[in-house]
Each structure stands twice: as structure tokens, then as C-alpha cells.
Subunit: 238 residues, 4 copies
């Protein structure tokens, strides 16, 4: 069974009543609930736990790591970031959610600033499937609406995605590449835009379908572990 660890910064929920009303047990609990219903073996981890909850032992039991952070990206210790990034390169899947675009692991894996535009006006978002044959689009309609969303707008400063699955339309006039697939080393990385802390977006059926599909897509395979370094001498080759 595929194992998932849902990581959450878990600060907004403890400091802001509006957020606590939407996600009383933390965003991670709501995300984890959806993934458990989808049949995954799910654990959670948060910033204020020792080693941010991402010990070697926890990561040993993690096929796919989902990451939600926003206001405390800088408090994530570099040693833990190194650990996460190394795991991805070795094959662990990584789902980067919404404001996680500015998280240290995502910026490290992308090599870019991952900057964008934003606006908190509670406007409507329409998520369009631009690649209906991609496994992350399974079971979705060709578009779905997030009734109230924080807007993220282009230019999103990322490398061109290996696969672009979703593009969002916003009421205020912006567009955004909102479902982006990458491979880094042996690991697969999926960025998914919807999911603000003040809206119950992670309870929305289509969003849960996307996360379910993304875990399946990002789960590690059984490909070769390449050898790096000095190759065998030529005389042994034939």
C-alpha cells in the first residue's frame, strides 16, 4: 500500500480564528482524511515537532510527501530540507500544495524563485484540464470551479513543467499553470495550486480526486538505481 505523509506548517490554524473555523484540526488533518478515504496509508507531520516530524524513520515509511506551508517557510531547517530533497531525488514523490510554492524544498528542486502574483479577494477560480489523458486528470470533469479562492497569477517563475495538467482562470483577469508535473532524479514532483487556508478547498470533491490521483502518479517505482562515479575501464567492456 502506498504510504503518504502530509506535512503542514500548522501555524495559521493555531493563531487565526478564521482559519481554525475552517480547519479545526489543521489543514493536514483534512488532507489526510481525504487521502485515507482514497485508500492510502496516511500519517501527518508538522513544523513544530522535533525535526519538523520528518525524521529519517518517518521518511523511510513515506512513498509520497505532501507539503503545505505559508508563513514560516524560513523556519524549516536546512538539514531537514536537504533530507527531503535527497529523498525526492531517490524516488520519493512530492506534492507541493498552494502556498508551498515558496517552500524551501520546492525552490531547491526547481532552481527558480517560484514567485507569482496573488490577491485575496475571495474570487472564483475555474480549473481547466488541459491534458485530459494525464493520469492526474482521471475521474475529473473538463473543468471545475473553486467558488472562493486566493488568486495566483502568471508569471509563475518555474521551469516549464514536464507535463502541464491544469490551467486556472480567475474572475479578476489572471491565468495560472495550476497543475505542474516534474521529475527530479528518480522522484516525481507535482505542484497543485488550489488550497487556501481560509477556504474549505481540501474538502471539495474534485480537489480530493486530484490529490488521490497525484499520490498514485508520484508514488515511487522500481526503476534502476544508477551508478555514479568512475566507470569500469574499457578493457572490461567487451
Amino acid at each position: 500500500m502506498v504510504t503518504v505523509t502530509v506535512w503542514n506548517e500548522y501555524r495559521h490554524e493555531k493563531e487565526d480564528d478564521e482559519v481554525a473555523a475552517v480547519y479545526p484540526d489543521g489543514i493536514h488533518a483534512t488532507i489526510a482524511e481525504g487521502l485515507r478515504e482514497a485508500g492510502y496509508d496516511v500519517q501527518t507531520a508538522t513544523l513544530d515537532e522535533p525535526e519538523h516530524g520528518l525524521t529519517e524513520s518517518v521518511l523511510d515509511d513515506t512513498d509520497v510527501l505532501a507539503w503545505w506551508g505559508h508563513k514560516a517557510h524560513d523556519e524549516v531547517e536546512d538539514a531537514i530540507v536537504d533530507r527531503v530533497v535527497d529523498r525526492v531525488r531517490d524516488g520519493m514523490g512530492l506534492l507541493v500544495l498552494h502556498s508551498g510554492h515558496y517552500s524551501k524544498p520546492f525552490k531547491r528542486l526547481m532552481g527558480t524563485t517560484c514567485s507569482l502574483k496573488w490577491r485575496e479577494s475571495g474570487e472564483k477560480e475555474r480549473v481547466w484540464v488541459v491534458e485530459p489523458g494525464h493520469p492526474i486528470a482521471d475521474g475529473l470533469p473538463e473543468s471545475f470551479e473553486v467558488p472562493r479562492a486566493e488568486m495566483y497569477g502568471e508569471r509563475f517563475d518555474i521551469p516549464a513543467p514536464d507535463d502541464l495538467v491544469f490551467t486556472s482562470w480567475f474572475e479578476g483577469g489572471e491565468v495560472f499553470r495550476s497543475g505542474c508535473c516534474y521529475t527530479r532524479g528518480k522522484g516525481r514532483v507535482f505542484y497543485f495550486r488550489p488550497g487556501h487556508e481560509t477556504y474549505p478547498i481540501y474538502e471539495q470533491e474534485e480537489v480530493r480526486t486530484v490529490l488521490d490521483n497525484a499520490v498514485a502518479w508520484a508514488a515511487p517505482g522500481d526503476g534502476p538505481a544508477p551508478y555514479f562515479g568512475n566507470a569500469e575501464p574499457i578493457e572490461d567492456l567487451d
Copy 2:
């Protein structure tokens, strides 16, 4: 100097007063005017000329071919389509404009249906630059508006572009990958969405900048002409 041939179906302008009022000398004349101002050597060709104006001799003098068609795609003879497609594979650049998405050469080069959604409501389009480092974005603002446009909406059934330069937002709720780069053989193909026959879009400054840049980008280089077929035997290789 880079030579451009602007091809136009040239039927709407002769049959529809509304179109004739916007493009009295044909859409091709307006596009050609813009490219001449940009410094290119430009000729035009239209459907009802012999060989659709695309004789071998005309194509011998064509670095980049721009293609506008809409209501008479089926009247383009297959032999001329073969000729155009072969030229592209040999290095000729091809700009496919607006309703040219359904033209025979574009469908042949893409391998897909090139279908999409459309709506003629005169709504506003915002064209966002998603890849500001791409040469086709030179000299542009990060977005520009087409005040009244026919809407084209996703799913646009194309192969994932090699480079996605623009994405459009529409007032009615749709998005569209509106600037798409491909390589086919040695030739470069650029699809650009804006440009309906009932709006003076090809007179708009930003649109002219895009077409200028696209010609420069698509112009053939001096890369090797690969040999295909039986390779030299091994004994000759060392």
C-alpha cells in the same frame, strides 16, 4: 533578409461586408503590412490563385510562411498541403494564425485533431506571457488585452507545446494556450491564437510585435541536413 509569404484564404473579405470593412484588402494585406514595417521581405498568396499561390518557386523564396484560413480549409488541395508540410520539415518556418488551427498543414504537422471550443461574443481577451525569456516575448508587456475577440477555449487538442509562450484569459471563463512553439523536422512552427476576421486585431501593436518576433524565431537556420537510409558499413567506421 528573411522572406515571408503571408497566405490567406481570402474569402470572408470578399463575401462579407463586415469583414471587408475591417480588412478591405484582405487579412493578408494587413498582416503583410505589419511585417514589412518590421523589415521583412514580404509577399502574399491566396487560395484562389493557381496552386493557391504556393508554387515551388514561391516557396523557394519563402523562409517563413504565415497561414490564415477559416471557412475553406477543405478546398486546399492535398498536393499543396504535402508541399507545404515537406518544406516545413526541411526547415521553412510556419506561423499558424487563429482559425488556422483547423488547416490541413497544421493538423498534419501536429498529428491531432486540433479541436477547441469557440464563442463569438466579442468578449475581452487578456494574453499573458508565461515565458518572458522566450524570444517571441521580446518587447512585450507581461500581458496585453485584445478588447474584442472570438473566444477559443481549452481543451485545445494539440500535442503539448515544446514551448508555451502565451496563455489567454477570456471574460466568459475560459483559458487557452495561445502561443505554442513546435519543431517538426528542421522546421519551426508557431501557433498564435488572436486574429479574428471581424476585429482589427492584426493592426494592434502587441500582435504585430508577436508576429515580428515569431518570424525571426521561425526563420530557418543552417543546421545539418541529416542523411537517412543505409548507413556506412562498420568496417569503414574506424
Copy 3:
């Protein structure tokens, strides 16, 4: 269960004793045997059957079509090519094997000539995994040898693959992109180079692993069936 149809031209085996000695029941039988052992529900079809064995009813029962052809590409009727291509665009997976690079369906889906260099010298091929995290590389070593192979060399005139999984090295001095993934419409297409009619390559374990993985990768999903055509008017959108 995923259903596979293995299509073979089936001419070499009947006309050439050397080929018949290697593939006495036809290349399709050997490929089908490997896929059955991998757990798929497999049927076969050949050129000389009515409708080349690819009736609508057979294709209704086909999740993934594997295609082997070489000397009789031109005898495949265009109506059947249309049918296969339409099915791929609607989601059917397609595996194109070895000399199938020149088949009508592959050329139609690629939009290029699909030309290459070749040499029949029985030389050694080394297939290198360049993308070890790709599902088609599951269970493989980081390289494997085909002891005697027909050489295919670059330039391979294809669109740049969406994913490049394998690159081959040949004794005589050539390289080749030998495992290439594409999406066309909702369908996934995988080109795999090894597999000449005079060598028992389809009995080789690593090759069977690749075909097994490729079927799993190319099998259709459950993504949305996009609507194409006139979109709903704006007034209905809000």
C-alpha cells in the same frame, strides 16, 4: 484487466526461412506470449485478415495496440489507419515497435517523416536508461545489451519526445533515442526500437519487461472527454 491487441504485418515469417526459424508462429505470437505471461488479456491481428484484423469490434476490446510492420506499410488501408489514429486520440494506447517507425499510424501521429539510418551488421546494442524514475524503466538494470541487432541511428526524425526513457549505443558508432513517449489527444504512444525480425529479441527478458511496463503506462485512464465546438454563451456562465 488491461486488454492488448498485438498487430503484426506477418509477411517476413511466411516468406523468409531465416525469419520463420526465429519466429515460427509470427512475431506477434512471441510478443503476445510475453504479454500474457505479464498478466494481460492479449489477442492478435495481422495484415492479411479482413480489415487487417482491426475491426471496430476488435478495437472496442483493445486498451493498448502494439504495432509491428516493416515491408508492407503501404498495404495498410487508409481507412484502417484513420480508425487506429482516431482510437489513439480517444485514449487507446499505442506501442510502436522497431520498423513500425515507418508505419502509417505512427507517421500520422507524429507529423514528421520518422526517417532514420539503419545497418544490418548484427552488431551489439546497449540500451541505456536515461530516465530511471519513469514507469517504463521499472525492474530494469541501468543498461542492458541486445547481443545482435539491426542498427538504427540518429537523426531520428521525430518530434522531441515528451519523455525520453532509453538511448541506445551501437558498436558501429551511432546513438539512437530508442524509448520515446508521446501523448496525442487522450492517448499515449510509446516507440521502442529493439526488435528485428531475424533476432529473437522479443524473447529477451529485459525487452519483455519494457513491453509489460509500456502497456501499463499506455493503458487508457478515466480523464474527461472534452467538449469541442460552440461553447455555452457568456450569459449562462455566471
Copy 4:
């Protein structure tokens, strides 16, 4: 005129007589000579200069930075790496040469380990053009040989290139993606494999053609400088 800064670690040449015999004035001098002959305005910079020769003022005068390093990657100060990486994201071109695959700027921009296999046996390399329509292939034959080279072999742990221009074949049995294009932010990055310190590879005509083309390709354009941060409120948009 496009300005180029050629950066070299410049240690091998001072410490090793064999290297000094090949590159008496340093590898940077030979590379710079080739680029000056191609018509560029070229300056050089080396590790042991203050700020490694890459002051803000030098970078203000740099359209494209070429980077050669090998044994002292770790001595490059992080503050200078930050500076270089920020410049690339803002549009400066970067050519990463041979053993520069392990340089800090390249690893930071790729997000991967950039590991590979190597072997110093003085074997023959054949560089094949796999994308003959790419501007970096202008003026080249479809393949060329480097008579004696250090081998680099796959798996090369990089993100899949946006454009793969060259693939190398090695006498000993390996292949390598040896010409790889990326965009990071507004900047273009080109990795080019050939170029070991003990062989006069940077005097070879085809290699000089590649570097000439790569500078032209990587030179910054005039695309928009996107705004990042809080977007204008909705009420101002219409």
C-alpha cells in the same frame, strides 16, 4: 554587441604540466580566443581573483557567462553563486562546460545532483546532432568526432532538457546527453559536454562553432520583467 565573460577555475593549468602544455594561458584564454574570433566582446575571470572576478560591475557587462570548473567547485563562495544564479534568473545566459556539471551554479539551477559516470581513457567520442533545426546546431555536420576525450556516461542526473541538441557516443559503450538547453527564470542555460583539460578540445573547429552558436542562443532578449507580489485589486481591472 553581445558581451561574454569566460570564467575558469584556472588551477589545473598552474599545477599540472600536462595541462599547461595544452592550455598554457589557461582554458579560459583558449575559449575566449575562439569567441573573440566569432565576433563577441569577451572578458575573462578566474577563481583566485577577488570575488572570483565576478563583481557586480563585471556581471553588469556580461550578457553570457561561460563556466569551466573541476577540482575547486567548493571554493566558489556561496555569495558569488547567489549572484550568478540571480543574474541568470534575470536573463543572463549561462554556458556550463564539461566538468562544470558539478559546479554550484549549475546544481542550484537544475535542482538535481548532476551526477554522471566518467572514465579517463582517452577514448573517441562522436557527438551526434539529434535536433538539426536547433540554432545551436547551425553550421555543424550531422556528427563530429572528438578524437580523445574523457568519457561521461548516462545516467546524467539532470532534469529532462527543454531541448536536447546533442547526444554523444563513446568507444567504451556509453552514451551521454551532451548538449542540453534549459530556461530558468528569464535566462537560458546550455550545458555542453566536450572539453577536458588534457585535450585541446577548445581549439577544435566544431566545438568553437557550438560555443559561438550557444552564446547567440543564450544572449538575453527584451522580454517583459514580470511583476511579482500583490496584484492590483479586482475593482481596478475593468
